[in-house]
C-alpha cells in the first residue's frame, strides 16, 4: 500500500494505470480546448482543417479573432475591474477578520466564526438572488420614501462586485488567519521593546510576515472573482463580465474564438499561479 510495504506487481501496475487514466481525464478537456483554437474551421469541432492564427488575430467576420473582437475585449476589461476591486476589498476585510479571530477574545466569538464561514455553504446562485432581492427592497424603499432612485442598487457591476466580495472574503479570511496563527506574537513584543508603537509593530513586523498569505489570497481572490459565474449571473446588468459574455456565446454556438479566449485565460491563470507559488516559496521550511 505504501512503498515500505510490499505489494504485488499486478497491484502496483494497475494502481499506476488508474492514476494515469485519472490524469488523462483531468487534462484532456483543456488540451482539446487549446488545440481547437488553432483549427482552421468555423466550428470548434472535427474535422481538423489545418493550423491557423485566425482565431487570435483574424480581422473581420466571419473569422473575427480575439484581439479584434471588441465585445470580448470589453468584457475582459469589465472582469478585470470587478476582480481588482473585489480582491482589494476582500483582502482588507479578511485581514481585519484574521486579527479579530486570532487575537481577540470576546463572547460570541465562535458564533461569529460560524457565521463568517456561512458564505461558503450558501450556493452561489442563492447568494446572488438574496443580494438581488435585498438590494431591490432597499432601492424600492428609497424610491417610495424619498422618491429617489438609487441606480447602483439595481443589477449591475456594483452588485456583482458585492456579491463576489461576500463569499471571497471568507476564503481570504481563512488563508490569512492560517498564516497569522503561525506568527510568533513575541515578535510584535520585540518590536515594541525596540521602540515601536503597537501599530508600527504590526505594520513593520506582522504585515511583512503575512505578505505571502496576502499575495496568495489576493491571487485566489482575483481568479475566483474573474471566473465567478453563478453569483454574477444573478446580479449582472448591461455590462457583462467575461464569463457571462462567453456563456451567452456558448449557448448560441460560436466560432473557435472562444477557444482562443480560453487559451488566454489558461495562460493568465498559469502566470498568476506562478506568481503566488514564488511568493510562498521563501518560507518553505
Amino acid at each position: 500500500m505504501i512503498p515500505s510495504i510490499a505489494s504485488s506487481r499486478f497491484f502496483r501496475m494497475s494502481y499506476l494505470g488508474y492514476v494515469t487514466l485519472f490524469f488523462i481525464f483531468l487534462i484532456t478537456p483543456l488540451v482539446v480546448v487549446a488545440a481547437f483554437s488553432f483549427n482552421d474551421s468555423l466550428f470548434p469541432s472535427l474535422p481538423w482543417n489545418g493550423f491557423t492564427w485566425d482565431w487570435y488575430f483574424g480581422e473581420g467576420e466571419p473569422r473575427l479573432g480575439l484581439f479584434h473582437d471588441e465585445a470580448l475585449l470589453d468584457s475582459i476589461g469589465v472582469s478585470v475591474q470587478v476582480a481588482a476591486v473585489t480582491t482589494l476589498a476582500s483582502l482588507a476585510l479578511a485581514t481585519c477578520n484574521a486579527f479579530l479571530f486570532e487575537r481577540e477574545q470576546f463572547p460570541g466569538k465562535n458564533f461569529l466564526y460560524v457565521l463568517m464561514l456561512m458564505p461558503l455553504v450558501v450556493p452561489g446562485v442563492i447568494l446572488g438572488v438574496s443580494i438581488l432581492v435585498f438590494s431591490s427592497t432597499v432601492a424600492n424603499w428609497f424610491e417610495v420614501q424619498f422618491n429617489y432612485e438609487i441606480e447602483a442598487l439595481r443589477p449591475g457591476l456594483l452588485l456583482v462586485t458585492l456579491g463576489q466580495f461576500a463569499f471571497i472574503t471568507t476564503i481570504a479570511t481563512l488563508v490569512i488567519s492560517a498564516r497569522l496563527r503561525k506568527f510568533d506574537i513575541t515578535q510584535e513584543e520585540a518590536a515594541m521593546n525596540l521602540g515601536a508603537s503597537r501599530l508600527t509593530a504590526i505594520a513593520t513586523v506582522t504585515v511583512p510576515f503575512l505578505k505571502p498569505a496576502l499575495l496568495g489570497a489576493g491571487v485566489v481572490a482575483f481568479l475566483m472573482s474573474f471566473e465567478n459565474f453563478n453569483t454574477t449571473l444573478m446580479l449582472v446588468g448591461s455590462d457583462a463580465p467575461l464569463t457571462i459574455a462567453m456563456f451567452d456565446r456558448l449557448r448560441e454556438g460560436s466560432t473557435p474564438v472562444l477557444n482562443a479566449v480560453s487559451v488566454l485565460l489558461m495562460v493568465g491563470s498559469a502566470c498568476l499561479a506562478l506568481v503566488s507559488m514564488f511568493a510562498q516559496r521563501p518560507d518553505k521550511h
Binding site: 478537456p29 481547437f36 470548434p44 457565521l115 455553504v121 432581492v133 438590494s135 462567453m246 489558461m266 491563470s269
Partner: protein
C-alpha cells in the same frame, strides 16, 4: 496607583476591538444575513395588486403541488449526492497515491498537476467537455475511426454527460482536502497496522479512513454544495431538459420575473443543502468549524 495605566491600555484595546468588529458585522449583516431574511420575507408574500402584497404560503404550496418543481428538486438532490460519492470514490485512490505512495519532487509535481485545471474557469472546462462529447466531437470521431460506430454519436445532453461534467468540476475540492489529511497521517501508523497483523483492507478501514475523515467530510460538503448550486454544467452539458433546480430559480427570477416564487425555491434549496450538510456532519461526528478550516 497602578490602576490607571491598565485602564488606558484597556480603552485602547477596546477601541481596536470595535474597529475590527465593525467591518465584519457590516459585511455579514448587509450581504449575508439581511438578504437571506429578506428573501424569506419575499417568499412568504403574494402580489395582490400592483405594489400590493399580502402574506401567503402559495409559493410553497405551488412547489408541492406542481410535479415539475418537485421532481426537479428531488432529481437535483439525488444527482448531487451521487456526483459527490462518485467524486470521492474516484479521488480517494489518487489522493492516497499522491500523499502516501509518492515522495519528493514527483509528489509535488503531481499535486500541482491536479490543481492546474482548476485555475481555469469552469466555463472553459465545461466547454472542453462539450467539444469532446458533442456529435461532431472528438469521442464521436474516435469511435467512428475505430469502427465502433458507423455514424456520429451525440453524447451531450444526457444525464451521464451532466454527471461527468459535475465530477470533473468538483474534483479539486475533493483532492485537496484528501491529500492534506492523508499527508498528515504518519506512515509508521500504517506500518504498525501491518506489523500488528492487519490486512490492507483492515488497515485502510481502521487507520487510514478514520484519520482522513475530516478531509473526506470537508471534501464531500464542498463538492455537494458546489454541485447542488451548479448552474453552468447542467445547462451546458444537459441542454434544455437538464431539469436542474438552479435553472428553475433562474427562470423564476430572470425570465418570468416571479421573484416570490424564485425566492421560495431559493429558500428550499438552501434548506435542503443545510440539511444534508448537517446530516453528513452528524453521521460522521465532525464539527462544522473543523471541517471548513
Amino acid at each position: 496607583m497602578s490602576g490607571e495605566p491598565g485602564n488606558v491600555n484597556r480603552t485602547q484595546y477596546r477601541l481596536g476591538f470595535w474597529l475590527l468588529l465593525a467591518p465584519i458585522v457590516l459585511w455579514l449583516s448587509l450581504l449575508i444575513i439581511l438578504p437571506h431574511i429578506d428573501m424569506v420575507l419575499v417568499s412568504l408574500r403574494e402580489r395582490i395588486a400592483s405594489r400590493q402584497y399580502g402574506f401567503s404560503l402559495s409559493n410553497y404550496t405551488a412547489f408541492f403541488t406542481e410535479p415539475l418543481y418537485w421532481n426537479t428538486f428531488v432529481r437535483t438532490a439525488v444527482m448531487s449526492v451521487i456526483a459527490t460519492l462518485l467524486t470521492l470514490i474516484i479521488a480517494f485512490p489518487v489522493s492516497f497515491y499522491i500523499a502516501k505512495v509518492l515522495t519528493g519532487r514527483p509528489k509535488i509535481a503531481l499535486f500541482i498537476l491536479c490543481l492546474i485545471p482548476f485555475w481555469v474557469s469552469e466555463l472553459v472546462r465545461t466547454y472542453g467537455w462539450m467539444i469532446l462529447l458533442r456529435e461532431t466531437g472528438l469521442i464521436s470521431g474516435a469511435l467512428q475511426w475505430f469502427g465502433l460506430a458507423d455514424q456520429p454519436v451525440e453524447m451531450l445532453y444526457n444525464d451521464v454527460a451532466i454527471m461527468v461534467g459535475l465530477i470533473y468540476t468538483s474534483m479539486l475540492f475533493m483532492v485537496v482536502p484528501l491529500v492534506t489529511t492523508l499527508d498528515s497521517l504518519d506512515n509508521s501508523l500504517i506500518e504498525a497496522g501491518y506489523d500488528l497483523g492487519g490486512s490492507s483492507l483492515h488497515v485502510m478501514k481502521s487507520i487510514v479512513i478514520p484519520h482522513a475523515m475530516p478531509g473526506i467530510m470537508s471534501g464531500c460538503i464542498v463538492v455537494f454544495m458546489l454541485t447542488l448550486g451548479n448552474y453552468l454544467t447542467p445547462t451546458l452539458l444537459g441542454g434544455k431538459d437538464s431539469l436542474w433546480f438552479t435553472e428553475q430559480i433562474y427562470t423564476q427570477f430572470i425570465t418570468r420575473f416571479n421573484w416570490e416564487q424564485g425566492a421560495a425555491f431559493g429558500i428550499l434549496l438552501l434548506v435542503l443543502s443545510s440539511l444534508i450538510v448537517w446530516l453528513g456532519l452528524k453521521i460522521t461526528k465532525q464539527s462544522f468549524t473543523r471541517v471548513m478550516s
